[in-house]
Subunit: 209 residues, 2 copies
């Protein structure tokens, strides 16, 4: 069955809420309550889950632990994922230092930079490789995900090379709309775009002040 992409994007949200409920010792939760926490309608949650199976009990709701396990298995969150970081500048070093990845099973195992100043140095326990050696290093120890934190000008080139190395998931911090073949998944992290999408609604407000 072909599952709507929006549904896939919501599942991690459900998993996160369930993990929090489990930590609180909750055993059962209804689509109603889960929806309230996440600003999603109960019907949406039930329909989303129904693409994958029947996980609830009528009259009771969902077993928190069981549903969480199901979602983790569906999303592949019960594995370790190996990631490479290209670009060890200001932004790249912040990404290396981010403590949010490891607890969720995402590990950055390599880092690259094109600035000779940084190549060979240690950053957060990793030796910075020259971006020239991307193919060589990835051949030795392949990864599941590529994180791109290079300037806009070189981002497409880096993405092309990651794809050529067999990377099929890319997290792109560079402010470009990258081109990738259909089998490659790419998501953009772009705070400026997010802000610019909100100022439209602020405009009227600000003008009247």
């Amino acid at each position: 069955m072909e599952i709507p992409p929006v549904v896939i994007d919501r599942l991690p949200l459900y998993a996160r809420a369930l993990a929090s409920l489990e930590a609180q010792g909750r055993e059962v939760v209804s689509s109603q309550e889960l929806g309230q926490q996440l600003n999603v309608t109960p019907a949406q949650i039930r329909k989303d889950l129904s693409y994958f199976g029947r996980f609830g009990k009528q009259g009771r709701g969902y077993n928190v632990r069981k549903l969480l396990d199901e979602l983790r298995s569906i999303l592949g969150l019960n594995r370790q994922w190996r990631m490479t970081l290209v670009g060890t500048g200001r932004l790249g070093r912040a990404i290396l230092g981010y403590e949010g990845f490891a607890p969720q099973g995402f590990r950055i195992i390599q880092t690259f930079d094109s600035d000779a100043e940084w190549v060979g140095k240690q950053v957060n326990g990793l030796t910075v490789h020259s971006t020239d050696d991307l193919e060589k290093v990835l051949a030795d120890s392949p990864v599941d995900v590529g994180i791109v934190a290079v300037p806009a000008e070189t981002a497409q080139n880096v993405i092309d090379r990651l794809v050529a190395c067999g990377v099929t998931a890319i997290l792109n911090y560079a402010p470009i709309a990258a081109h990738v073949p259909p089998h490659v998944h790419i998501k953009r992290i772009d705070p400026v775009l997010a802000l610019q999408g909100m100022t439209y609604y602020l405009k009227a407000n600000a003008a009247s002040k």
Copy 2:
């Protein structure tokens, strides 16, 4: 007229591409070419723009400069936007150091932290205020946007207080689904959610390796 939210989210993308074309000295561009650059269908671009007016010339395309000006005016990108940052930890300091905001007219003018260790210190030219003084500081110098970079546990509280201070646009880096009144706009920046949405598609792949 009520404009579809997805349309608003695409306009900054168009503006960015146009800015790049302008920098290259291009005077005219067709929806076809713009679409190719951005992975958007030409029809989509034309329909999106048609919500706001008729900016093109049949047989020729769009004047790059003119369309860019229009979009900037529609989105409010020709203004300076004042932002406050709550949370001056690792993540917050990375946000303070990010060079991508200022060139687009987004300025962080205040920063807060609840750790007494940091309060009073200078970070990137700003004095760190105590989060306790949020209301006081915002009353003196109000902002348009709030950036939340505090731990999940305190994020909802911080967001409530920002909203109470009249902030109507929030960029949320905390891993929670925040609750805000309908007139407040909020966007989440969450790399882990983005990754977890991609691993679903990687799963099959990784297992067969």
